[in-house]
């Protein structure tokens, strides 16, 4: 039992061990087991209601498993101080959730402020992060979130998640509400940041194209069960039904041209 509390050398960044999650009688997650290695980007792909967001919230202690355990750096989330755990994990959601009464700079510097960094260090970190996500600090730091476009807001959301140099990043359909062009720009930026920062990320989406672009591995969730856990190449060859259903979305357009018309 004690061994679970001692992070072994080479332990996974995140590990799900037989994780089930239940709300009253309905089983949202059913004995989920997988490991996420340091530096990788795992995409959780699934339909609405497949349990992917729930799985994400189990990692930063917004929810706790009904049975089984989720290990972060080798320690079960239940053994962590949940405030410390959350502050060490960046979290980006579709609705962004920027604080409307804070400036952009104050939003980005929030976790460092909660962690008691000295003001000069927060200020320089905020500038650095805004530049990293492609927003000019001189132009944006003092604005309010409502003065920004959707894409700019989501960039601020990413900067805020990165602020206190988290061990891990969680993304819950972060680009889902953006127009396709902006979404592509932010995906490119995500890839760029990943290459420079080498952060472990878990990324939830229902967009199979996004999953293929961003992931090092894809986990397909179907009604709370893990159907496939594979690299993008293996994923494309999978014969599992839910995975085929997602791939069929990708193949829809070419087929329409060749078979049906002419």
């Amino acid at each position: 039992m004690g061994s679970a509390l001692t992070p072994a050398a080479g332990s996974a960044a995140v590990e799900f061990r037989e994780v089930s999650f239940r709300i009253r009688d309905s089983l949202i997650l059913d004995k989920l087991s997988f490991r996420i290695e340091p530096g990788e980007t795992l995409v959780l792909l699934g339909r609405s209601g497949s349990g992917k967001t729930t799985a994400l919230k189990l990692v930063n202690g917004l929810l706790f498993p009904s049975s089984g355990e989720v290990l972060v750096d080798g320690r079960p989330t239940t053994a962590w101080n949940v405030i410390a755990l959350r502050r060490s994990i960046g979290y980006v959601i579709q609705e962004v959730g920027l604080f409307p009464h804070f400036t952009v700079g104050e939003n980005v510097g929030l976790v460092p402020r909660l962690e008691g960094w000295p003001p000069e260090r927060i200020a320089s970190r905020t500038r650095e992060l805004l530049e990293q996500v492609g927003l000019d600090p001189g132009q944006f730091a003092d604005r309010r979130p409502r003065e920004l476009s959707g894409g700019q807001r989501q960039r601020v959301g990413v900067a805020r998640a990165l602020a206190a140099n988290p061990r891990l990043l969680l993304f819950d359909e972060p680009f889902g509400a953006l127009d396709p062009v902006t979404r592509r720009e932010l995906q490119d930026q995500f890839l760029g940041l990943r290459n420079t920062l080498q952060k472990t990320s878990i990324f939830v989406t229902h967009d199979v194209g996004e999953a293929l672009r961003l992931s090092t591995r894809i986990a397909v969730l179907d009604r709370g069960r893990l159907e496939v856990l594979a690299t993008p190449e293996e994923f494309l060859r999978s014969q599992a039904p839910e995975t085929r259903a997602f791939l069929a979305v990708l193949n829809f357009e070419p087929r329409m041209h060749t078979d049906e018309h002419r």
């Binding site: 755990l85 959350r86 979290y91 959601i93 959730g97 604080f99 409307p100 909660l114």
Partner: protein
């Protein structure tokens, strides 16, 4: 012709009236805001407390003053009973606006705050209260204006204040006396309303 010493009476009774309102509002705020915050955390209590505050508000004010007189400790004739009644009236708008203001905070903003690792105290002080401030202040403004009006009835049970003029004026069919009570009371209400809505605008977060 206005009687001698009327101006001095107006000043004295306006001061008495203001003190009555201030004391009542202080109690109503001290009870209403913390209770409103508590109710955002305790769903089970919500129906009971809001129900009680709602019922209090529907009791006609003159009747409520009357009901309180025979109750030991808080009752009797005089200022104390008047203050108890005024607090009960002021409670509902403060309580309800604190509750709806905090519950109205965008769910995504609240979830982000929790996910960023705010403690529940930090969530309250840094996110919920600042964002709910305009609505809470609107409740305080409504409560204040209502209390200034209702406090005129306190004179009926010996609570003093500008109601003394009004009741005296009605009894002696003296319009000057009635106006000597009603006009300052209306002015107090207008001034408080203006002042509090100015504060409300200053505290609008976004």
């Amino acid at each position: 012709m206005p009687r001698a010493g009327l101006l001095q009476d107006i000043i004295d009774l306006t001061a008495e009236h203001t003190v009555l309102v201030l004391i009542s509002m202080a109690f109503a705020l001290a009870i209403g805001i913390p209770l409103g915050i508590l109710l955002t955390r305790r769903t089970a209590l919500r129906g009971w407390v809001l129900g009680f505050a709602n019922v209090m508000q529907t009791v006609p004010s003159l009747a409520l003053f009357g009901f309180l007189i025979p109750i030991p400790l808080i009752g009797g004739i005089g200022k104390r009973t008047a203050i108890v009644a005024l607090v009960l009236y002021a409670l509902l708008p403060i309580l309800r606006n604190t509750l709806t203001g905090i519950l109205g905070v965008d769910a995504a903003v609240r979830e982000s705050a929790i996910a960023m690792g705010m403690t529940s105290r930090q969530l309250l002080w840094q996110v919920e209260l600042p964002l709910a401030a305009p609505i809470i202040l609107a409740g305080i403004r409504i409560a204040t204006v209502t209390t200034i009006g209702t406090a005129t009835i306190a004179a009926a049970i010996g609570g003093g204040g500008l109601g003394v003029f009004i009741f005296r004026g009605i009894a002696s069919v003296d319009t000057t006396e009635i106006l000597a009570g009603a006009v300052p009371a209306a002015m107090l209400a207008l001034i408080s309303d203006g002042g509090l809505s100015w504060i409300e605008k200053r505290f609008s977060p976004a």
